[in-house]
């Protein structure tokens, strides 16, 4: 198992963000977390990133407790937030080179250009300052980071939010490709359509708990929407 949450609890003072979350994602699997704002999706991802510590319970990546192995577990993952934030005064390839170097990947510039190209970034954009990039282009650099790092786990936090349909579709194809290459993906999203399209399993979160789980192959878009709305209206 690449990623595993066991009875994961997170309190922010009086507020309970996660209530005993149980979750597991294996290689080649895309687990989409659906839920309203404040359901605990981002908290879950930040716990696996080690940016916050759980109140109790366990968050493991490749069997290693994130809290105890914060640096080591990051070697296996790549993170793409809602807005992949890059350095505006560096070019696309310079950003990619910087982040991959920090991640311990030794790749030459030609290889990185190739990865950017495979990730859907126009060739002429690689040497442009990122300050001129659209959000979709930045998300593609985020994907390129994951590819360059050969990440075994991808943590996506609403990565298609705000993307136009074309960019969103391209992003989904890239994630699907990574899934097919054996990467485990945990994606928090509001996008029922995309999650049905790329997920292997879908979980619905409400008030810090996983209230429903379905196999994406077993449901239609309509089914998924109905299940989601049923839980939201409870």
């Amino acid at each position: 198992m690449i990623l595993q949450a066991q009875n994961l609890v997170k309190h922010y003072g009086e507020h309970v963000a996660l209530r005993g979350l149980e979750l597991a994602v294996d290689a080649g699997e895309v687990f989409c977390l659906l839920g309203a704002n404040g359901a605990g999706k981002t908290t879950t991802i930040q716990l696996f990133l080690g940016f916050i510590e759980p109140t109790s319970g366990s968050a493991k990546i490749k069997g290693l407790e994130v809290r105890e192995h914060a640096q080591e577990t990051k070697r296996y993952l790549a993170y793409i937030p809602e807005n992949v934030m890059l350095y505006p005064n560096l070019t696309g390839v310079e950003n990619l080179e910087y982040f991959t170097t920090l991640a311990g990947v030794d790749a030459d510039v030609a290889t990185l250009r190739g990865i950017l190209s495979q990730s859907g970034l126009p060739d002429d954009a690689a040497d442009r300052y990122v300050g001129t990039y659209s959000k979709g282009m930045r998300q593609k650099v985020g994907i390129a980071m994951a590819v360059a790092r050969k990440a075994e786990l991808l943590l996506l936090d609403e990565p298609t939010s705000g993307l136009d349909p074309k960019a969103s579709n391209e992003f989904a194809q890239l994630v699907t490709r990574l899934r097919d290459e054996g990467v485990a993906v945990l994606m928090a999203t509001h996008d029922l359509f995309r999650s049905r399209e790329i997920a292997t399993r879908i979980g619905i979160m409400k008030q810090g708990q996983l209230v429903a789980q379905v196999d994406a192959g077993d449901v239609t878009h309509n089914d998924l929407e109905r299940i989601y709305l049923e839980h939201m209206h409870d």
Binding site: Q46, L49, G50, F51, I52, Q71, E72, K74, R75, L77, A78, Y79, P81, N83, V84, M85, L86, Y87, N89, L90, E94, Y98, F99, T100, T101, L102, A103, G104, Y129, R149, L155
Partner: protein, 473 residues
């Protein structure tokens, strides 16, 4: 490429590509070089004026013609402090203190300005030291306030830390990049400074050592602001908060603490006015330090002592009038010197106490520490001024003694009609004043050195702590 090199490279590249920061850096360097040009011009003018004035004074002294030696002592001459080339870098308090002393019989004069230095008074505040002390820290703040806070606000810190990079690697990379950027601006400017000072005659090892230590001092001073800025960037809730906090710290260090320290020193150890000192000296010359002495009796007693030292008491010999006048003049001079020395020493002690009080403010402000250290290493602080005026006073006493001795020995029956000629004037001891060595400045400013060192240690500790302190979410 190592992780650290990678962080440094990225940070430097970002600064180099930010037009606003480039412009800011260029402005600071241009201001420093402009201040250097002004300072060099002033120093050159002061050196030339000193040279001319010293030669004129020497010529006037040697060419004063036949004259009674004591009358010549009354006319006196002028002594001039050497103008160190480092004045072009840091005029210190030299712009406010005189660089020449009139030496004459019966009186210890305070130093005064030569006309050539009046211009220095007007632009004394705009110096390379002022740019380094006040503006470079602001540049460091502008470069560093976003080190952590902007990364957090832009979201790049999350992206960075998700790579697994160590926080301390980021911190050292950011600190090294900040150092490199400042060095890239300051080192070429520093080489220009050395070149200009060399051209002004400061190419000797002594001056280069002073400049080297000054550069090390400023490096430490900049490091203090760098470390504090990194910490503020990590601790503040926003980049704007970090910027405001550091500008506040700059104002506290560079404007408020120096002013408050000076005020406290003045209240704790007030200095008498010049007119008060003159009045006190006049009073004590008439009635002695205890207020009840009779100077005539004291001088008479001293005359007897001087005669006894020469074996002229109870010998039954008649003592030549002129010889006696010589003893009288010597005894009178000693009495006057004792009064002047007492008041001068009291004044110097009060000034030293004030300086010490301000120097202790180094623990509350690295600016105070570096300001006094910079002036000390440039030889333009009050201690160097005092070193010169003390030497001038010693020379004055030696000259007056020599002239009075000549009167006593050679006047004979001519008495006050005796006139010496240029042979005596040429025998006046040369005023070969040598500025004190670097150890003098370091010993004088040990409090500042200590204060700066403590600030540097604190800044390094806080910079290291900033890596842990920086919040991701």
């Amino acid at each position: 490429m190592s992780l650290l090199t990678s962080v440094i490279g990225k940070e430097v590249r970002e600064v180099a590509r930010d037009g606003r920061l480039r412009l800011l850096g260029v402005i600071v360097v241009v201001l420093a070089l402009a201040a250097l040009a002004f300072g060099a011009q002033q120093t050159q003018r002061a050196q030339d004026a000193r040279e001319r004035a010293a030669q004129a004074a020497q010529k006037q002294w040697e060419g004063q013609g036949d004259k009674n030696p004591h009358v010549a002592a009354h006319y006196g001459t002028h002594l001039f402090a050497p103008t160190s080339v480092a004045t072009a870098l840091d005029p210190g308090v030299s712009a406010y203190l005189g660089r020449s002393v009139k030496v004459e019989a019966h009186k210890r004069n305070l130093a005064e300005h030569s006309s050539a230095e009046d211009g220095g008074l007007r632009i004394g505040q705009f110096s390379v030291a002022a740019v380094l002390l006040l503006l470079v820290p602001l540049l460091i703040i502008a470069l560093g306030y976003g080190s952590w806070s902007l990364e957090r606000e832009r979201g790049t810190l999350r992206q960075l830390l998700s790579t697994g990079v160590n926080r301390s690697t980021l911190m050292w990379g950011k600190a090294a990049a900040l150092t490199l950027v400042i060095a890239a601006l300051m080192v070429p400017a520093g080489l220009v400074i050395v070149g200009v000072l060399w051209a002004l005659g400061g190419g000797d090892g002594h001056t280069l050592l002073r400049l080297g230590l000054t550069a090390a001092g400023y490096g430490t001073y900049f490091g203090v602001f760098g470390g504090l800025t990194l910490y503020a960037s990590a601790a503040a809730r926003s980049s704007r908060g970090a910027l405001v906090a550091m500008v506040g710290v700059w104002g506290l260090f560079c404007l408020i603490v120096p002013r408050v320290a000076t005020e406290i020193a003045e209240v704790a150890r007030p200095l008498p006015s010049a007119s008060q000192v003159s009045a006190d000296i006049e009073r004590d010359l008439r009635k002695g330090l205890d207020g009840v002495s009779d100077p005539d009796k004291i001088i008479d007693a001293r005359i007897k002592e001087l005669m006894a030292e020469e074996g002229l008491v109870n010998t039954g010999l008649l003592v030549d009038d002129a010889y006696l006048t010589g003893f009288e003049l010597q005894a009178e001079a000693e009495w006057e010197d004792s009064i002047y020395d007492h008041h001068t020493e009291a004044l110097e002690a009060a000034i030293a106490d004030q300086e010490a009080a301000v120097a202790w403010a180094s623990v509350a402000s690295p600016y105070v520490a570096m300001r006094s250290l910079s002036a000390g290493l440039s030889g333009t602080d009050y201690a160097h001024h005092r070193h010169f005026t003390d030497a001038a006073e010693r020379w004055r006493k030696a000259l007056v003694t020599q002239l009075n001795s000549d009167f006593a020995s050679n006047a004979g029956a001519k008495g006050w009609d005796y006139q010496a000629d240029e042979k005596l004037w040429e025998k006046a001891p040369p005023f070969a004043y040598a500025e004190p060595g670097i150890d003098f400045a370091l010993r004088t400013h040990w409090r500042s050195l200590l204060g700066l060192g403590l600030w540097w240690v604190l800044a390094v500790v806080l910079a290291i702590a900033s890596a842990r302190r920086a919040r991701v979410v």
